[in-house]
């Protein structure tokens, strides 16, 4: 938890776009893993299981939001769809560009580029095949290129 807390919170934040929801989801994930560890032994816990749990809980939360659009905590609709060039700070621009990606692509980008998971680990965490992950990363890079300009090209070259 010490090691993964920040990383997993940021992952949940990218998926949910709302800090309060992200904190709830991460707390719930740790709780579930803790109970799982009590039943099956703490050795059965792994980062992959943690990210798998967080992913599922995030999906649950997004599903709930769709069913309850009147919830005041919903910040998804408030996300700006501005071209990234308009934001002065480069880090903020990259962040904005990533947040504008579709959910599956955003998920893959943050797991692969930010959390440094391999394609196989991303595939395990998401419950899909490695080929699907590669396709999503490719699509994400296609979307990021016009938004990030030269940076997009750098990423392309690196991966």
């Amino acid at each position: 938890m010490e090691r993964e807390g920040d990383r997993v919170l940021r992952y949940a934040y990218v998926l949910l776009k709302n800090r309060q929801d992200a904190e709830d989801v991460v707390q719930e994930s740790f709780l579930r893993l803790w109970r799982h560890g009590l039943r099956r032994g703490m050795d059965s816990l792994s980062p992959a299981l943690l990210f798998h749990t967080v992913t599922n809980l995030c999906k649950d939360r997004l599903r709930y939001r769709r069913r309850h659009p009147e919830e005041p905590a919903d910040a998804v609709s408030a996300w700006p769809a501005e071209p990234a060039e308009r934001f002065p700070d480069e880090d903020a621009r990259i962040f904005q560009a990533v947040m504008q990606l579709a959910f599956p692509e955003r998920q893959c980008v943050v797991l692969y580029y930010y959390l440094d998971h391999s394609v196989r680990e991303v595939a395990e965490a998401l419950g899909v095949t490695p080929q699907v992950v590669k396709t999503r990363l490719y699509r994400a890079r296609q979307h990021l290129r016009p938004l990030l300009g030269e940076l997009g090209a750098e990423r392309e070259g690196m991966s």
Binding site: F30, D74, P80, I94, L151, E154, R155
Partner: protein
């Protein structure tokens, strides 16, 4: 597959941005506590019995403690209040809260570019006491770490006290050793004058006008389907709008070049715009393809307007430049104000298009090239609906609470103070500022009000009921205010030393 690779620059950039956002997991949290807390009914029963016993002991043995304890329990007894952040619950203890209910909660976006929420505004109902001042609602602003930033106590819809808190003390110190809350700060004590402001109404014309602008010696007016310019007191000769347009029209003329004016007309397909550089002899259609242009203002040598929800500026009325890029599906400029002393200084209030979320108040000192958030906006739970700039860069903002207030920003102290409007004033209306820094306020009904900053006093300006409600208010110099009513437009001229 990646093996032993270095951190991708994309990941590094995201990491830096997350750090700057302060997105860190609370390392003091541990699932063991939560798991222990939800382990069956027996523990719950034992816990409840123990709490009851402790409460009885506290009531019987420590009579002074029973007061606060019972209030704490009553504050947490209702299920909605249980979801409040810990810091807010601490605050509830200090303001001796009773029968707390969560009435509403909005995300707060106190940054630009407007993206992720930076906090939350809670509106709580119940009974509260801030430094002896009672209230029936409490509006609390928390940041994205759920720490209380500010709180405002309201009674019957009117703010009666701002509870100023040292944020660090709420987070770091344990509950038992927390410092007491800072003393409550009441909103500015204002008086209402017993007699009306001395002055006379001068009728400018009969009929409803829709906009008014004064530029040097020229005065431009519009009414449905027509526009006119007055100079040297000549009678108005109304011309039809260019291209035979008939919709609602607004006009603005540059004070630096009075012959250059901009005319916008609402049509079914959006806003049509025309500009003139010869006082209206020839009108040219602008090249702007925007669908909605509102709140056109001329200041110095530039026009300003809200174009599709974003703030834009133009030097000739034809070519426009967006200076505050916003996602038009999510955010819009609610109102903006320009400093007449320094037209490069612009203040903007933002509002969420879907009504969920309080946007930031922004200020630019360089004509919109860069923007900074105005700090310490009080937890009023609403963004300003109307703003004007006062001498010295001060800002007066009308906030339409149940009983509206004027929030005034002091750039030197970077602080806000709340100026209550006279009791019985309905929400809505318009605000105008004189070059001296005094305010005129036109409510939806009833008399106009004049606020003299030095005396902290509101002076009524009687308005005959037959004139109908005012919809336009423009201060002309220090002693005149032009007001458009449903049936006529008039100028109120202060006489004598006024107040």
């Amino acid at each position: 597959m990646k093996d032993a690779r270095t951190r991708d620059p994309l990941g590094t950039a995201l990491d830096r941005h997350f750090d700057r956002m302060g997105l860190f997991w609370d390392r003091t949290w541990h699932p063991r506590r939560r798991a222990r807390g939800s382990r069956g009914w027996m523990q719950w029963t034992l816990g409840a019995a123990a709490a009851a016993g402790m409460g009885w002991l506290a009531w019987a043995v420590v009579p002074h403690a029973s007061h606060a304890t019972s209030r704490t329990l009553s504050a947490a007894a209702k299920s909605p209040a249980e979801s409040l952040p810990q810091s807010v619950r601490h605050l509830l203890v200090d303001v001796r809260a009773q029968n707390v209910e969560v009435r509403a909660s909005w995300p707060v976006f106190a940054s630009y570019p407007v993206a992720a929420p930076t906090g939350r505004n809670w509106l709580l109902a119940g009974r509260f006491f801030a430094d002896g001042i009672p209230g029936d609602h409490l509006s609390v602003l928390v940041d994205d770490r759920s720490d209380v930033q500010s709180a405002v106590l309201l009674r019957q819809g009117q703010p009666v006290a701002q509870v100023l808190l040292p944020p660090a003390a709420w987070v770091a110190a344990p509950a038992s050793s927390r410092a007491p809350a800072a003393p409550a700060v009441e909103p500015l004590a204002t008086a209402v004058a017993a007699h009306p402001l001395s002055g006379v109404w001068v009728t400018g014309g009969v009929g409803r006008i829709e906009s008014f602008t004064a530029a040097g010696p020229a005065v431009y007016l519009t009414r449905p389907g027509a526009w006119t310019s007055l100079s040297s007191g000549r009678a108005a000769f109304w011309d039809p709008l260019p291209d035979g347009k008939t919709g609602a029209a607004a006009i603005a003329a540059l004070p630096a070049k009075p012959a250059t004016a901009l005319l916008t007309v609402e049509t079914g397909a959006g806003t049509a715009g025309f500009y003139t550089q010869d006082g209206g002899r020839h009108w040219h259609r602008w090249s702007l393809a925007a669908t909605s242009v509102t709140q056109v203002v001329a200041m110095g040598s530039r026009f300003w307007a809200v174009v599709d929800g974003s703030l834009a500026t133009s030097s000739d009325g034809d070519h426009w430049q967006v200076v505050l890029p916003l996602a038009d599906s999510a955010w819009a400029v609610r109102d903006y104000a320009i400093n007449p002393e320094d037209p490069a200084q612009v203040a903007v209030s933002l509002t969420a298009v879907n009504g969920q979320g309080l946007g930031p108040l922004l200020l630019s000192d360089n004509g919109g090239q860069t923007w900074q958030v105005l700090p310490n906006y009080p937890a009023l739970g609403k963004t300003p609906a109307d703003m004007v700039m006062l001498p010295g860069g001060r800002i007066a903002a009308l906030v339409n609470l149940k009983v509206p207030v004027v929030a005034e920003y002091d750039p030197q102290a970077q602080s806000w103070r709340v100026i209550p409007l006279p009791r019985g004033t309905a929400p809505g209306g318009r605000l105008a500022a004189t070059p001296a820094g005094d305010l005129f306020y036109a409510p939806p009904a009833g008399p106009l009000w004049y606020y003299q900053a030095g005396a902290a006093t509101w002076w009524p300006i009687p308005v005959p009921a037959a004139w109908g409600p005012p919809h336009l208010l423009v201060a002309v110099g220090d002693r005149q205010v032009m007001t458009a009513f449903a049936t006529r437009w008039c100028i109120f001229v202060r006489t004598g030393t006024g107040a």
